[in-house]
């Protein structure tokens, strides 16, 4: 369950990054559709956070320790919304670049999460 969610969130994050990168390439700020995409990826990360905590509560142990696992879950959850809010403040192509960077960072976090959980 968690592994699938990690994969889906990672792929969604990369898609979001590509989409916003495309917007930046065309010299456009993030628009409503982008924010819906940001919301979808954020929701995925939130679900992942909840599922991860439930798994811990059931007594399962991440390979590399509970503290690191929870820290990465929180980081993954905060990553894309934070970039989204920054792109609200910067209504140029650079706002789009920031969201694209946020997507890439989230994808990297997902890879780390996979390792930490020991999938």
């Amino acid at each position: 369950m968690l592994d699938v969610l990690t994969l889906v969130t990672g792929v969604a994050a990369l898609l979001l990054a590509a989409w916003c990168g495309w917007a930046a390439y065309r010299d456009q700020p993030t628009k409503d559709w982008h924010f819906i995409g940001i919301a979808v990826v954020s929701a995925l990360a939130l679900i992942q956070l909840v599922v991860g905590v439930v798994q811990l509560a059931r007594g399962e142990e991440p390979d590399q320790g509970t503290t690191i696992f929870v820290a990465y879950l929180l980081g993954a959850f905060a990553c894309v919304p934070a970039a989204g809010f920054m792109s609200l403040a910067e209504r140029t192509r650079w706002g789009s670049v920031t969201v694209a960077a946020g997507g890439v960072v989230l994808a990297v976090l997902e890879v780390r999460l996979y390792d930490i959980w020991g999938g």
């Binding site: 503290t67 690191i68 820290a71 980081g75 990553c79 934070a82 970039a83 920054m86 792109s87 403040a89 910067e90 140029t92 650079w94 706002g95 670049v97 920031t98 960077a101 946020g102 960072v105 990297v108």
Partner: protein, 138 residues
């Protein structure tokens, strides 16, 4: 947030590409600080030098982020000095980890020029210095 920035007489440092720099520095702050706090709290004796350097890196990143968000001429100068210091730090620690790996039983944020962080640690100060240089003339 926008209103308070316009009230200040100094120039904004987070307009345009600056927002990307703030974002990446923010990520590095979270990464370096949380990592070093955890490692210093749980296994400091294993690699004291590496963990202390990570903590130092986190503090430097935090200060640069703050100066970028604050804006103005003094903040710009302070940020430039810190970015230069950061660059020197990355290059020194990066070379140090390659020349004498035995001094580092565990990795720091700046090990191998920040390879574990997609080389962002070495690319960030370069682009930040370039940006802060241009911000003066803009």
């Amino acid at each position: 947030m926008v209103a308070t920035q316009e009230k200040r007489t100094g120039q904004r440092l987070i307009g345009g590409p600056g927002i990307l720099l703030v974002w990446l520095y923010g990520v590095m702050v979270v990464g370096a600080v949380s990592r070093s706090v955890y490692q210093i709290a749980t296994e400091f004796d294993r690699a004291p030098l590496a963990y202390s350097l990570s903590a130092l890196a986190g503090v430097v990143y935090g200060f640069i982020t703050y100066t970028l968000v604050r804006g103005g001429e003094r903040a710009r100068r302070a940020a430039r000095v810190c970015c230069a210091a950061e660059l020197v730090g990355v290059l020194t620690v990066g070379t140090w980890t390659l020349v004498e790996p035995s001094a580092f039983p565990d990795a720091t944020v700046w090990s191998d020029y920040g390879m574990g962080y997609l080389f962002i640690p070495v690319l960030l100060p370069l682009s930040a210095l370039y940006w802060l240089r241009r911000a003066r003339t803009a």
